[in-house]
Point group: C2
């Protein structure tokens, strides 16, 4: 079995894969696969409700925070957020902290919002922020997968805070009460591709623009319990399995965070001790999820890539916009797997250093 360090879609826990396979032909005694059951039948209605409730519990959300399970990825949210929370010409502030944050900015500009970049840096987390007092919201991407940076805290903001947590949702404890909206596609830390979690507190729903076509209005999906149109049932089922794993096997979010911290610390220590590789990210901005590194000498790049592949270490190429290397250590990657990668780097150092 390979070591899966893909940036997403990526590894799922072995026990989750096993559970899905075991339940695949007979979902909860129905005699059918979960994929074959109508979205209006009780087993799927129950699945939707349980999944929303488990997200609410694990994230410490308020009872009346709507948890939407939508299609279209983080990318559709780049448009739905400005559409819902602002009108054309309205001031909206964004922190440009990376490749995906920049995509969110681009979408808001295409929708003719008055976009202001309240802070910009891709190689570190931006510090000096200049947030407009009349901005409808401030958008932040909490973890930046391409350059390997992550917010350690939550930016101070007097305007409603909107967060893209696609690459670190439920990987650490965070004060969710500080956010006006949180969204995350599932395929990195909490599931497989095909469903996006959008958390929209009641108070945020009061900001929603009148006259929005109903598909794009968060309230349509909130009022229908994410069953306004056929939901991506199987992808939601995978999320439920991941939440069960996180709660029952890992032991909750605190344990998950400790494990994630240990995994990242081990790999960063290995890289900091290396003479062949270096991590370009300053320690206060380093991501626990995506560890980005470069070869000091470009000549070893291809031999390292080749040897890693031979050793079954997959997904270590950096993002196509950056190059270099990247190991993604999302929730399902085990400490043992990171030890294997760290050991491989150390061994490589002995041979080629």
């Amino acid at each position: 079995m390979p070591y899966n360090f893909y940036a997403g879609p990526c590894k799922l826990p072995e026990s989750v894969i096993e559970r899905i396979r075991n339940e695949f032909t007979d979902y909860r005694g129905s005699g059918m696969s979960v994929m074959e059951i109508s979205h209006r039948a009780q087993p799927v209605l129950d699945l939707l409700e349980r999944t929303q409730e488990k997200i609410r519990r694990l994230m410490g959300l308020a009872v009346d925070d709507d948890v939407l399970l939508l299609q279209g990825g983080g990318t559709l949210q780049f448009s739905m957020i400005p559409m819902n929370l602002s009108a054309a010409g309205d001031p909206v502030d964004y922190i440009d902290s990376g490749y995906w944050a920049a995509k969110a900015i681009e979408a808001a500009r295409q929708l003719e919002r008055d976009v202001h970049v309240a802070g910009k840096a891709h190689d570190t987390i931006p510090t000096a922020l200049d947030i407009r007092a009349d901005a409808r919201y401030l958008h932040v991407c909490t973890n930046n997968t391409v350059m390997g940076t992550q917010w350690q805290g939550i930016p101070e903001s007097r305007v409603p805070l909107v967060a893209d947590m696609s690459s670190d949702i439920l990987s650490r404890n965070i004060d969710t009460g500080r956010f006006a909206l949180i969204y995350a596609h599932a395929q990195k830390t909490i599931g497989a591709a095909g469903v996006t979690v959008v958390i929209v507190p009641r108070k945020t729903q009061e900001m929603i623009q009148p006259g929005l076509p109903s598909f794009f209005d968060y309230r349509t999906h909130a009022d229908a319990g994410s069953n306004h149109h056929t939901p991506p049932v199987f992808a939601i089922y995978v999320v439920e399995c991941m939440l069960d794993w996180l709660e029952k096997e890992v032991g909750g979010l605190d344990t998950m965070e400790t494990l994630n911290r240990d995994k990242a610390a081990l790999l960063y220590e290995t890289l900091d001790a290396s003479t062949l590789f270096r991590c370009p990210v300053p320690s206060e901005s380093r991501s626990m999820m995506n560890v980005v590194f470069d070869a000091v000498n470009p000549e070893i790049v291809s031999i390292f890539s080749q040897k890693a592949e031979e050793a079954g270490l997959l997904g270590l190429q950096g993002h196509r916009s950056r190059g270099g290397f990247r190991a993604s250590l999302y929730n399902a990657v085990t400490l043992e797997e990171v030890e294997t990668l760290a050991g491989f780097i150390t061994d490589f150092e002995h041979c080629y250093g």
Copy 2:
């Protein structure tokens, strides 16, 4: 195992379910589940390409017809079609042939298009059509799941024809060259919920409005081979399995159509011979996919429902907007299963007729 007559999500072929389960932990020798593989890695790039190619082949599409594999269901297409093919205020024509066609009309109206209903009937297929010569397109829903009606031919139209085939795509041979755009969510005839097929010929792409936010522009997805943002990999994989089944096990679209005709004919004959039940749809408008029927005497409704459930016949309730009964006989439902249902109705007739 129950008899699954759900209106969608619905039954998948047993061999498809079995194949997915068998391949679940090791996709094509990768040692990983297909859900765990990056959408930028070769196995998933190949999956996307093969699936598009198989749809092209089975539907008899032109080589340069773009086959998009999108999220958001038919419901997102209700908005994307007017957004792409017309500007606000532009004339767009729709045939209001049922519940879902009416939803498409509603979305076009919310987007402030000049909507004209070129024909309307829900209990039969509309005949007299009044299509405006300057309409940007004519939208038709080829099969109407709620009232159980289906277009037997393709409406004559001198304006570009757009078709929602969500409930009958690849269930019968149809001249796809007549359409400017075809769309269908997968969860009825060709897969599970979570992916929507949109066929956009090159010529149609010339109609696309300038200035559309890039996520909503079909060309964004066409140019990226449906990999502009993370595609719903697993749902696409299920579609590929269904296409393989249709091609190799069923033996192609002609055989599929013959089988679907036989299934529907058997059930309609049973209902027409019944004294307890009747099908309200005139024969020239009857759907091969959704057979709608009512009890002549309302007093037998609850006993029929109860006995059907006891016999493991699931999903026979009519749509919540209509009531009555409905059996959905999509591609995966076997002739034997329809014989069981027909036999059940006949036996019920003997006991209660």
